[in-house]
Amino acid sequence: MKDSLAEALLGQVMEWGETDLTTSNTLLSLQMLASQKYDGYERFRPGRKFIESLANWLRQFRTVDERRTALEFVQRRLLFISNDEMEQLVGILYPKVIRPIVRHYVSNKLGVPRYAVRRIENDLEFARVRRQSLFLGLSDGARMDEFRRSNRDLSTEQVYATYEVSEPRLDEMRSQLLKEQEQNDGDSSRFELVFLIDDFAGSGKTILREKDGVYQGRLKRFSDLLSSDSSTESSVFSGPDTEIHICLYVATKQAVDHLNQAIESYTKVAVWNCPPQVHFVQLLDDSHRIEPGDEPAFCALLDDYYEDAIEDEAKQIGGSSSKFGFAECALPLILSHNTPNNSVSLLWAPSPMLALFPRFERHAQRKA
C-alpha cells in the first residue's frame, strides 16, 4: 500500500477530522519511526508496512477511545530494537564484554594487574587464550555470522551458530585447534573459555529452568555436552575448569536475576567448577514492564481482547497465560527479526485479532 494511503487509512480509523498540532505531529512521528525502524520488521509480509499494519490493528478495537489508548501505548511505550541497533549490540559485544573477560583471564595467569591492558594484549598468552575460546550461538537470533565478521581477531574455527555440536564437528574443532596451536608453540589443544551467545532473554527460562529438581534448558544441554566431552580422552573442552560465559545482546533484569539464581543452584550438581557468568549488552530493567498500575487503560484492553486459544505447550513452561507474555514478562518489546513471546500478547498474538507485529512461531513450525 502507498504510504499516503496508509496514512489516510490511519486518519480514518482514528477519526481524525480536522487536523491540529497533535494529529500532524503524531502522523509525522509515526511516519519517521516507521521509515527509520518499524518498517524494517522482518515478519511483515512483503509490501506491507508499519502504518498499514497499525491502521488495521487499531481498526479491530471497537471504540475510538480504545484505539486512542492503543495508539498512545504504541507511541509511548513500544520498544523496538531495529536491525541497526541489533548490529550495534553485536558489534560491541566483543570489545565491551568479551575482550575484557579474556584479558582478565590472562592477567590472572600472568600475574599482572588487569589494567596493564597493552602489556596483556601484547603477550603471546593473550593470543593463545583468545584462540582457545569458543563462541557458540544459543539460537538463530544470535547472529553468529555477523559476530564473527565484526571481529577480525577471531578465527572461523572458533565461532559456531549452534551450541548443539555434533561429535564429528567436535573432533574437527580439536584437530584444527591442535594444528594451529602447534604452529604457535602452544601447549594446549583445549578450549578454556566458552561463550554462549544469544540475542535475547526475557525470562531466562529457555536457557535454564528447574522443575521438581530436574533441570532443563539450553545451558543444561551444553552442560551435558561438556560432561560427555570430558569423559572422552580426546576432549575438546577443559573439563570442569572450562569457564563459561553467557552473553546476551538484550536481557531483562528478570532474566538475569533468574539465571544467576538458577545457575547458583544448578552449580551444586553440575560439572563445572566455577559457575557460568551472565553478561549482557543492553539491559531492560523492570521499568519497561507493562503493569496494570501504570497502564490501566491498556491493560484493560489486554483483558478485553485476550483469548486463551493462543496458549500452547511452550507457553505453559512460562507458568502462566501469555496475556502478559511468556512468563509474565509484560514487555513492550519488538526485535526487528521477530517479536519475543515475552511481550504482551496484543502486540503479536495471531488471534483473536490480527497482530501489530506478527510473530514467527518456532514451535509451531517444528510441530508442522
Binding site: S4, L5, E7, A8, G11, Q12, W16, E18, T19, D20, L21, T23, S24, L27, L28, Q31
Partner: protein
C-alpha cells in the same frame, strides 16, 4: 505525508547554488542603493535571519555564473535583471567578482592572547589579509571555472599606474604559498594548546590586499580580469570593538578603488556598549538597515510581497497541487462552532452595549443605527465587531471629564470614529472574551514575521505542515486551514517560543521574565474598556535620560539592577526578541521604544500592529520586572 519544503535548509544555509537561488526572492536586492555600491564603503545591517548573508552570497562567482547561465529562465529572470541593473551582471556574464570573508570568532580570540595590543592588531590584520588573499585567488579561479589552489599560477598581479613604488609582478601561486603559510602559522599558533609563538614580526597594521588590488592589474592567463573586485566582510559584529574600528578606518580610506561591503548584525551589542544606537552623521559611507528598509511604510508592502514570493516558491516544491500559502488559509469564519461563538458574541456585545448606556440619550442614534445594520446583515461576526466597537466608542465618550449635555450624537460622528484600529481592537476584545480566532489570514501571518524572513518561514512552515497533514488524511485533496486552526497553531507557536527563551538567548531567563512582564503590562493597557491605544499596546518606551543612565550603569557595577537590565536588553535586542526604535518623538519628548517581537504578541492576546506603546515606563520598573517579574501595576498616574 509529503516533505515540508519550509523545513529545508534556510536560505542562509543552502549550499547548492541553484537551490539557494530558487529559495531567495529577487525583491531583496531592491534595498541596495544602486549609485553608492562601488565607490565607497557600504555597511549592511540586520537582525539575524533577515538575509544579509544571502545577499552577499549572490555576488560570489558561483552564484553569478549560475545566474548568468539561467537568466532566461522564468524563475531567475527578474533576479538577473536586477543584478544587471546594479552592475553585477552583463550579457556576457558576471561583472563583479565578489570575495566573501567571514569575520567570526577566530579573529576576536586574537585579542585574548597574552601578547601586547600592537601585536594583537597585527595578528588580526595578518590573518584577515592572508584569508582575503586566498579567497581572492579562490574567487577569481571560480569565476573562470578553474581549480583552486591548483591553477593559482595562472593568475598574475601586474603593477599599474597607481603603484607608487616600483614593484615586480607577483604570480598567484607565489601569493598562494605565502598567504597559506601565513594563515597556517597564525592559526596554528593561535590555537596551540602548548602556547603561542610570536609570528607577528613581518605583519603590518592594516590590510595589504585592498592596496595590492588598487595598485595592480590582475591577469588571468595573460589577459586582464574584466570584472570589478568586491570585498565583502560578513558578520563583522563578531570582531572585537578595537578590531571593528580598525577595520572600518582601514576600509574607509577614500583612495581605495576597490568596492568593499561590511555586513553585521544591527546594533553590534556588547556589554560595554549595550545601547549604542547613536549613529555618526555626515559619513563617508553608505548604510543599509534591512529591517528599517523593510518597515518603511512605502516599502512594507514590498517586504510582504517578498515573503509571499519566498513562501510560494517553497510551496511549489512540495507538489501537492497548491501554489500559494494564502490559498491554504481560510480568511473568514467557517465552522459551525465558530459561527455559534460569533452569534453568542454578537448577542452579548449587543446587550452590554445597550445596557452600558441605558439612560444616556446621547447614544440613541448610534445604537439605533447599529440595530438597523444588524437587521440587514447576516454576518454575525461582523455585527459582533460592530457592537463591540460601539461599546468601546461609548466608553471613550463617557470617560471624558466634561460630558456635554445629553444631546444625541449623530451617526456620522460614529462613522467618523470607525477607524480600522478601533475595529481591530474590537475584534481583539471579542477574541479574548469569546474565544474567537484572531490570528489568522495571510495579513496577520505576514505581520508575525517582525520583518524577519527566517521567522516568517518558521511560522509558515508550521502552518504548511498542517496543510500537508490534512492533504494526506483527505487522500490528496487540499483543504484549507480554518481560522481556528490557524489561531490555535499560532498561539501555540507563540507560547512555545516564549517558553524556550531561556535556552535560546543569553541571559534567557531574565529575558523571558522581562518579555513576559512587558507582555502582561501591554495586555493590561490594551484591554482597558476605552481601548485608549487602539488597537493596543505592544511596546514600552524609556526616556533619553534613562538611556544615558542605562549606558552608564552598564559600565560599572555600582548599580547591579540596571547593569543586569542593560545586559538583558542587549541580549533581547541582539536576538530579535525586542525590536528597538530609537529617537521616537512624541508628547514633547524623545523616547526609545522597545516593541515585542510580533511572535510573542499572541501569547498575550495583543495586536500585531506597531501603533501603540507606553512611554514613561522607566528603567527602574523594567529592572524590577527583569528581577522579579510583572508587578501588576499599570501606569494610570502618568496618564
Amino acid at each position: 505525508m509529503a516533505q515540508n519544503p519550509f523545513r529545508l535548509r534556510a536560505s542562509e544555509q543552502a549550499t547548492i547554488e541553484d537551490q539557494f537561488l530558487s529559495l531567495v526572492g529577487p525583491d531583496a536586492l531592491d534595498l541596495l542603493p544602486k549609485d553608492q555600491l562601488w565607490d565607497r564603503l557600504v555597511i549592511i545591517e540586520s537582525a539575524p535571519g533577515a538575509g544579509k548573508t544571502t545577499i552577499l552570497r549572490l555576488l560570489t562567482p558561483p552564484s553569478l555564473r549560475l545566474l548568468s547561465r539561467l537568466k532566461d529562465q522564468d524563475a531567475y529572470r527578474l533576479l538577473s535583471e536586477q543584478l544587471t541593473d546594479l552592475g553585477a551582471l552583463t550579457e556576457r556574464g558576471p561583472a563583479v567578482v565578489g570575495i566573501l570573508v567571514n569575520c567570526r570568532e577566530q579573529y576576536a580570540t586574537i585579542q585574548d592572547l597574552p601578547v601586547d595590543e600592537q601585536v594583537q592588531i597585527r595578528w588580526f590584520f595578518g590573518l584577515l589579509d592572508a584569508r582575503l588573499t586566498l579567497l581572492t585567488l579562490r574567487s577569481i579561479l571560480a569565476l573562470y571555472g578553474l581549480s583552486y589552489p591548483r591553477d593559482a599560477h595562472r593568475i598574475e598581479f601586474l603593477p599599474n599606474e597607481n603603484a607608487t613604488i616600483v614593484s615586480q609582478p607577483v604570480n598567484g601561486a607565489q601569493l598562494y604559498d605565502e598567504a597559506s603559510k601565513a594563515e597556517n602559522n597564525l592559526t596554528d599558533s593561535l590555537n596551540s594548546l602548548m602556547g603561542v609563538t610570536d609570528v607577528s614580526a613581518d605583519l603590518s597594521v592594516g590590510l595589504q590586499l585592498p592596496r595590492t588590488l588598487h595598485t595592480s592589474d590582475i591577469l588571468v592567463d595573460g589577459k586582464p580580469l574584466q570584472q570589478r573586485v568586491l570585498l565583502m566582510f560578513d558578520d563583522v559584529h563578531e570582531l572585537t570593538l578595537e578590531q571593528r574600528l580598525a577595520l572600518r578606518r582601514d576600509l574607509e580610506r577614500r583612495e581605495l578603488t576597490v568596492a568593499r561591503w561590511l555586513a553585521q548584525r544591527s546594533q553590534a551589542v556588547e556589554a560595554t556598549e549595550p545601547l549604542a544606537f547613536a549613529r555618526t552623521e555626515g559619513r563617508d559611507y553608505a548604510e543599509i538597515q534591512i529591517e528599517e528598509w523593510a518597515r518603511t511604510t512605502r516599502r512594507g508592502q514590498r517586504f510582504y510581497s517578498l515573503l509571499d514570493e519566498i513562501s510560494n516558491r517553497r510551496i511549489l516544491r512540495a507538489q501537492v497541487g497548491v501554489e500559494t500559502l494564502e490559498a491554504c488559509l481560510l480568511t473568514t469564519l467557517s465552522t459551525d462552532r465558530e459561527f455559534e461563538r460569533a452569534n453568542d458574541a454578537k448577542t452579548i456585545a449587543r446587550r452590554s452595549a445597550v445596557d452600558s448606556v441605558r439612560g444616556h440619550q446621547k447614544f440613541d442614534e448610534w445604537i439605533q443605527g447599529t440595530l438597523e445594520a444588524e437587521a440587514t446583515t447576516a454576518d454575525a461576526f461582523e455585527m459582533a465587531i460592530d457592537w463591540r466597537k460601539l461599546s468601546i466608542l461609548m466608553s471613550q465618550r463617557l470617560g471624558r471629564r466634561q460630558l456635554p449635555l445629553d444631546i444625541p450624537l449623530a451617526v456620522s460622528e460614529f462613522e467618523n470614529r470607525d477607524s480600522s484600529s478601533i475595529r481591530t481592537a474590537a475584534e481583539l476584545f471579542l477574541a479574548k472574551e469569546h474565544r474567537l480566532p484572531f490570528y489568522y489570514g495571510m495579513k496577520r501571518i505576514r505581520q508575525l514575521s517582525s520583518w524577519n524572513i527566517e521567522q516568517f518561514l518558521r511560522v509558515a512552515g508550521d502552518l504548511f505542515e498542517q496543510v500537508l497533514a490534512s492533504v494526506t488524511l483527505s487522500r490528496g485533496s487540499v483543504s484549507q486551514l480554518t481560522a481556528t486552526q490557524q489561531d490555535t497553531l499560532i498561539r501555540a507557536v507563540s507560547r512555545h517560543r516564549l517558553s524556550v527563551l531561556p535556552k535560546e538567548v543569553p541571559f534567557g531567563e531574565d529575558v523571558q521574565r522581562l518579555v513576559t512582564a512587558i507582555g502582561k503590562f501591554c495586555q493590561l493597557e490594551t484591554f482597558r474598556e476605552t481601548a485608549p491605544y487602539a488597537p493596543g499596546v505592544t511596546g514600552v518606551g524609556i526616556s533619553e535620560s534613562d538611556v544615558t543612565r542605562l549606558r552608564e550603569a552598564a559600565q560599572s557595577s555600582k548599580q547591579p539592577m540596571l547593569q543586569r537590565l542593560s545586559r538583558v536588553l542587549a541580549s533581547a535586542i541582539a536576538n530579535n526578541v525586542l525590536e528597538v526604535r530609537p529617537n521616537v518623538n512624541v508628547k514633547g519628548g524623545t523616547w526609545t521604544v522597545f516593541f515585542l517581537n510580533r511572535l510573542y504578541c499572541p501569547e498575550f492576546d495583543l495586536p500585531l500592529e506597531y501603533s501603540g506603546y507606553k512611554e514613561r515606563v522607566g528603567i527602574d520598573r523594567l529592572a524590577l520586572w527583569t528581577a522579579s517579574g510583572f508587578d501588576g501595576q499599570t501606569l494610570r498616574l502618568h496618564q
